[in-house]
């Protein structure tokens, strides 16, 4: 009996030991956290398998877990050959040494819009082949505000008038404490997140403490304290709900909202940001999702073929139509012009601020968010708070980079 148990235990150990190697089946492995786009990508991949005879194994991972899962799995040779993710993973995964720069054969060419390639470039090298991009725009309820505002002050004046006429309606509503939604106004006044030196990101050149950024922060405070447009507690979720219920005239949101906006049946238009009071052009942050190549990819040659297929004009048009996020290749952009919303988002993105791929940008979001909260609730003057925040961010970046 005892011997039998021992044999059983040994068998168990052996099978546990083996199972890790059976994971390396002879197929290209692809991990993605995309949700709305997943069925289309599945179709595109099936098409690829049929055409080339190369086996592909896809795994859908919850988006917020995917980056760390890859970061742990890849060094242990358990990672996929390819992973689809946004540009801010590029700097993190490349710094950790887990990505191979995109090889010459599939390098994004001239027909990719520059902002998309800029966003996935890290330390002078391209680490991702862009599939689509996303950024914020103004969603306007065309019943409540029939005309497109000429400028930001014009927008504020109309929004205030709408709200005064009917207090149950929000004139202009967004989460102004969240740097992602506040950034268009900072960029319009000349602020920057991380500067550049010799074509590379300079992580110590943080541009949130200057006269422009103070102006932007004061403008945001005026939306809350003077015009009473955005009370504390505003969130992206609430802005969406208000808009879909027809209780907000203008909100700031991204292409992920298009589907719900259409379904809600509220007459709307997607507008680019008009210039601010100082004449500056708001340039929202542009996120770019693309395919990255594992440095230890087991099926590199086949993986490159799959990149080529996924990033093709046909595939990216299909992916765009599924999600509302604009594609990045000229040929694909021409083919989505019949959808005015996607076309508008594409136009805004092309003039947007590429979201930095450098990991140092992670040191900016939390402190900047606190600063925006303190400034827009009148607890701290803009210049004092931004200067202190700038100092704190630099210390953090110093810590990160040593």
């Amino acid at each position: 009996m005892r011997r039998l148990l021992l044999v059983f235990a040994l068998l168990l150990c052996a099978s546990v030991g083996c199972s890790s190697t059976t994971g390396q089946a002879d197929a290209v492995r692809l991990w993605t956290g995309l949700d709305a786009e997943y069925p289309v990508i599945e179709k595109v991949v099936a098409d690829f398998q049929q055409r080339t005879g190369i086996q592909v194994r896809m795994l859908k991972v919850p988006f917020e877990q995917l980056r760390n899962k890859f970061l742990i799995a890849a060094p242990a040779d358990l990672g996929p050959d390819l992973v689809i993710g946004p540009q801010d993973w590029v700097g993190v995964l490349a710094t950790a040494g887990q990505l191979e720069p995109i090889p010459q054969e599939v390098l994004p060419g001239e027909d990719f819009v520059p902002v998309s390639v800029q966003a996935v470039t890290f330390q002078g090298q391209v680490y991702s082949v862009p599939l689509f991009m996303e950024c914020n725009a103004l969603f306007r309820n065309t019943t409540l505000m029939p005309e497109r505002p000429r400028s930001i002050p014009d927008l504020v004046a109309r929004a205030t008038a709408i709200q005064q006429a009917d207090p149950s309606i929000k004139g202009f509503y967004f989460d102004l404490q969240e740097p992602y939604f506040a950034w268009p106004f900072f960029s319009a006044e000349g602020a920057w997140l991380l500067g550049e030196k010799d074509g590379r990101t300079d992580p110590f050149d943080v541009g949130i403490n200057n006269p422009g950024s103070v102006r932007a922060a004061e403008f945001l405070r005026s939306l809350r304290m003077e015009h009473h447009l955005i009370p504390p507690g505003a969130s992206e979720n609430i802005s969406r709900t208000l808009f879909q219920e027809g209780r907000a005239a203008v909100i700031i949101n991204g292409p992920w909202m298009l589907k719900d906006a259409k379904a809600a049946g509220v007459p709307y238009a997607v507008d680019p940001f008009p210039p601010t009071a100082s004449g500056g052009q708001p340039r929202p942050l542009v996120g770019v999702q693309g395919i990255m190549l594992n440095r230890r990819a087991a099926h590199r040659t086949e993986a490159l073929k799959l990149i080529d297929h996924l990033a093709s004009v046909d595939s990216t048009v299909a992916i765009s139509q599924a999600s509302g996020r604009p594609p990045v290749r000229r040929g694909a952009l021409e083919r989505i012009q019949n959808d005015p919303d996607i076309a508008t988002f594409a136009m805004i993105a092309e003039q947007g601020t590429p979201m930095p791929s450098h990991p140092a940008v992670n040191a900016i979001w939390v402190p900047l968010k606190s600063a925006l909260e303190l400034i827009t609730t009148g607890k701290s003057p803009a210049d004092v708070e931004l200067s202190a925040t700038d100092e704190r961010i630099r210390q953090k970046i110093q810590l990160m980079l040593e």
Partner: protein, 319 residues
């Protein structure tokens, strides 16, 4: 015969459990202790090395050492108040539910267990909506009952500034402390309720009968019979809930993300040590430093629990 047979067999039976324990608990913990003494971070992802006590020195001497003290004080208040309030509510309801004259006991029990059955992540998000300043059900209810002005006026007597209505539950210091505590008590009381009910049911009813015959009032029975008999069952539970609440990441992070912001500091008003260290270290891929924080928090919890053990003599009866 029994003696001879037992040889190594018990160990073999224990082996799977011990192996699992070693791989799932012991090794990861030892590994994180080791990492706390290294510079393991994004920039040293595969080439990290031993740096001695540097991570610990940074926590204690960092530019935000003063913040650390403030956050630590609130963490102790948070964990202590969470345990006491949820126990108080749990015990109160348990005594009511333990009364055999109560009709529909099963129904009430089910209702009260519900907060426990819903995943905390979901209920915390739900509370975030309920507590929203402008659209939240709580403020709408208070306003409709005309209670918001009254509440603000009463609280305003004790504060320097007049209290604004509607109340910004999650966005003002003070209110946000009350809000996170209330939500955490709501999350935690079903556990205390169940424990108390179980312990109460083990108290033989003839003890109470004898006390009644002797003319003891309900209050006296509670103090002299219920509390002493529950003590040995509840103290270990209390200490472990204290440790659990000390590291109750989800309730804070999902409800306020540590906010509202405090001028001149990285930590928000409701940040506890674990959420604060997440912002400082893990968010920035400083894994070594994050491990050092974890060890620090472990030492703090262990010390506080040790003091508690001594003061309350928690396991005396068991020994």
């Amino acid at each position: 015969m029994r003696e001879r047979d037992s040889g190594g067999l018990p160990y073999l039976y224990l082996a799977p459990a011990l192996l699992l324990l070693a791989f799932l608990s012991l090794l990861p913990n030892l590994y994180s202790v080791w990492l706390a003494f290294t510079n393991y971070s994004l920039n040293h992802y595969s080439d990290y090395s031993f740096v001695g006590l540097r991570n610990f020195a940074r926590i204690l001497q960092g530019p935000e050492a003063a913040t650390f003290a403030r956050v630590f004080a609130w963490t102790v208040v948070w964990a202590g108040a969470s345990v006491l309030l949820s126990l108080g509510l749990g015990l109160f309801l348990a005594i009511l539910l333990n009364n055999s004259h109560l009709k529909g006991r099963t129904f009430y029990r089910t209702i009260f267990i519900l907060p426990w059955a819903i995943p905390a992540f979901i209920s915390v998000m739900m509370w975030q909506g309920l507590l929203n300043t402008e659209f939240g059900a709580i403020n709408l209810l208070l306003a409709n009952l005309g209670l918001d002005q009254a509440l603000a006026a009463v609280v305003g007597l004790f504060t320097k500034d007049p209290v604004a209505t509607p109340i910004a539950w999650l966005n003002t210091p003070g209110w946000s402390h009350i809000a996170v505590l209330a939500v955490n008590v709501w999350l935690a009381f079903p556990f205390q309720l169940t424990t108390c009910l179980g312990a109460l049911q083990s108290v033989p009813s003839d003890v109470y009968e004898a006390a009644s015959v002797d003319g003891a009032t309900a209050g006296l029975q509670f103090r002299r019979i219920t509390v002493p008999l529950l003590r040995s069952a509840l103290l270990p539970v209390l200490l472990s809930s204290f440790a659990f609440n000390f590291n109750q990441f989800a309730a804070i992070y999902l409800l306020t993300a540590g906010g509202p912001a405090v001028p001149g500091s990285e930590a928000g008003a409701t940040d506890i040590l674990i959420t604060y260290s997440y912002k400082l270290a893990f968010n920035l891929f400083q894994y070594g430093m994050a491990c050092a924080y974890a060890i620090f928090i472990f030492i703090l919890v262990a010390t506080l629990s040790g003091v508690n053990f001594k003061l309350t003599g928690a396991f005396e009866d068991a020994n």
